[in-house]
Symmetry: C2
Amino acid sequence: MADEAILMDEGDAVYNSDFAKEMIRQMRAVDTYGTYDNWTPEKILEPFILTKEMKREIPIIGDPDELIISRIKVFYNAIAAMIEKECGLMASPVINITYEGFGRVIIIVGKLVVLDRNLRDVHRFGFQDLSKMKGDADKILSIALDIIDNHSAAAGM
Amino acid sequence: MADEAILMDEGDAVYNSDFAKEMIRQMRAVDTYGTYDNWTPEKILEPFILTKEMKREIPIIGDPDELIISRIKVFYNAIAAMIEKECGLMASPVINITYEGFGRVIIIVGKLVVLDRNLRDVHRFGFQDLSKMKGDADKILSIALDIIDNHSAAAGM
């Protein structure tokens, strides 16, 4: 637990953001056996943090395991949920990851692709800190909302 | 070979269509060892035909093998190539098939989803005859071109 305390600042304002709450909701949704029931938000989000030092210890080439893939899904599902919340239209994520660790994430709103991102080095998925994670999500969200604004008919508005 | 002769009419006009030519081109593209080099178009397209009688002999529940998945990719890649040819914009297929035989095919043009289809019973993929196959492809193509027409800005025109 000492390690975790270093990685995560419990007072972090990020925990109170809608995005972090959605991430925790998504993590609990895939937690079939209720393992996370008594976990704090900090502990639930901790696996998303991968500092430069931690990254350096992971081999450059590696196969992603089920756990990492489920985390990637949680991250992009949470973004899709945020998009949905902001624009009121259903956002549907399509996540394709090969066993070699390459992949592609697409988020669709109506007939519109609001995110199309190639993934690589999936086995080293993680963010340097929680604000970096939220920053990436916010960037995707704002681009997606711009695309919907610009092509509202295709989005189904 | 007697069986094949029954299934495929060698004089079939479908063989001269752009779509059939594209299908054959795509089949040859995945033919790493040059097995099809001396095959006739009829023989190359024969695995796409699954009559009602043949379908009846395949169990309702089954896992799709690599070969069937590669055929499904060939079919939708060929459709994407046709869309590209007609509208002059890149069409990119995303094909997701689970090992249980469910899946989803998406074709993207620019920021536009021009095909979004759920697949099921993938292990029984096939068409009753070549015209049925071309008919399905033509239908997808015409809907895709309509969507592009209606949302040309999102398609990138």
